[in-house]
Homo-oligomer: 357 residues x 2
Amino acid sequence: MDRQRLVVAIMAGGGGTRLWPRSRRIEPKQFVAPHAGGDSLLRLTVRRLEGLVPPERILVICGQGHVDLAREHSGLPAEAVIAEPEGRDTAACIGFGARHALRLGDDAVLVVLPADHLIEPREEFQATLLRAAALAAERGVVATIGLPPTHPATGYGYIDRGEPLDDRTPAAFAVRSFKEKPDPDTAREYLARGHYLWNSGIFAFEARTILAAIARHLPDLSEGLMSMADVTDPAEVARVYPTLPRISIDYGLMEKVDDAVVVAAGFSWDDVGSFESLGRYAERRGDRNLSRGEAEFIEASGCLVDNDAPGLVVVSGLEDVLVVRTRDAVLVLPRSQSEMVKKIVEELGQRGRDDHL
Amino acid sequence: MDRQRLVVAIMAGGGGTRLWPRSRRIEPKQFVAPHAGGDSLLRLTVRRLEGLVPPERILVICGQGHVDLAREHSGLPAEAVIAEPEGRDTAACIGFGARHALRLGDDAVLVVLPADHLIEPREEFQATLLRAAALAAERGVVATIGLPPTHPATGYGYIDRGEPLDDRTPAAFAVRSFKEKPDPDTAREYLARGHYLWNSGIFAFEARTILAAIARHLPDLSEGLMSMADVTDPAEVARVYPTLPRISIDYGLMEKVDDAVVVAAGFSWDDVGSFESLGRYAERRGDRNLSRGEAEFIEASGCLVDNDAPGLVVVSGLEDVLVVRTRDAVLVLPRSQSEMVKKIVEELGQRGRDDHL
């Protein structure tokens, strides 16, 4: 495959409720820096593409309200940042990205990836993307990146991988089926069987191939997407976008195509989906305590403080507690519940606390 | 006793470590409002004296660094606020107050009271003060206010009361002895015996009587106090004050005088000595949760949030936890340890966190 065909679309539309109050509606997770004082996840994602594609072939797709933040964090030319007038789930976003990719070339091979993952090392990441993109281009199929599971996670979709494709492309397999997020027993079964991979949410395909697949499997979405004569015309996008059907790419498309392929990743991957993930980048403070930002632990153990504002957090006499502090909010909960922040945010919304979300 | 003789000295020199981070070195407890958004304890103390003495016969004695705050909170004329160049404990402070009271009249009867107590109702409080002041003036003795104990507190000194003085002054007794803060067993014994009162730290005496008592029992302190020709001369005060011996009025004087009297208080009293005390003025939120300021409790019970800054505190999935938030600090600890905040502050000091204290 000619590398000149590559276009990368970074999906930066996440709402970021899982890291509240560190991430907010007005500043979701992709704009949060995993290392205190360091680059945001979006910035790291853009930098991870250096050398793979030139800046003018990177798109960042984000919510209307985040355009300025996305421009600032990505450091890309203004026209690289594409606004969704409202979130319509991943199938619409990817179709919209494919329409934009076609502007950059009829034969564009599009790589779609989330803005808020941490991945290392860059070389292995780029090599894996190239392998997936080449497979997608040569075979005219959807190629996904799968992650060898390290534990029976229930928060990710899985890919049941079939036979190796050929000897020429290492770690590439046919996809037998895509599986939705499993219950714990099923997750353990997947892990034990050894031929399941986590679905990374990173895909590669020719822009025209994915639009054809959308036309076949999601005709309503296709009709909406193709009804826009010019996808760079804000008025036209604003008119059409809110009418697009809301469906995920996994459920709406991936589960229906029968010739997808998967490349097993050799890079380390973290979706930074909870404060426990962020905690991996925190400072070790003795007695199993961890801190990001200013904190003191007094007869406390196993506690995690994420302090994003000037000033001090003191935890005394407690065990396994998570304290998140931003300039204008504090969240205190048991660390065992750190995966449940999304539910807390939903509850706050129901209580009319939207102004804090 | 002629009420024109009364002078009230409010002791506002406390460092306020027991309510950190709500109270700070730069803004101790007397400047904290027990009711969110309401008057500070100092302001409430001044207002509690309305009708008893005119403003020009009220003194507020505070640390040098708190003069502006004390003027603002007390609402008194600028000259009412008297600065101690540094804290030298209560005996020096009371002697200094007595010297100032003498400026207002040779026969001044001085009532000394802490700036950071909550007392109700005002009428009963004033009647009790008048009763103590009259006894002090008529008998030329130290009169104290004692509080009928409600539980075996270990945080207060006790007064062993002797015989009733006479039929004319109800609830007035001879003092058999002053007792320092007891251990728990002793406190329970005091409570059971029925003739012990808590030492409120409120005293009445003629200014010349207390200075004579200081001369007799604390000659070094007396020498220092009397060496100042003019106690309103800042330079003279700054020269002498730091040399005064550091000793408490209880230990240095009260335990040594043998003719003190005590008036048992009929008012309700709270020294606001911990966040549990402050919690009495908080909003009840269900599941035994309490809040001052913006807070939400999600599957939490028995928690207390003291939120003094704009923004939200969310406590989820925890029991009996205390969260204190100010603009620039957060403290999280078990409610059972809310009396130990002073120790936490000491520990923070030892860790070099003075800039946060």
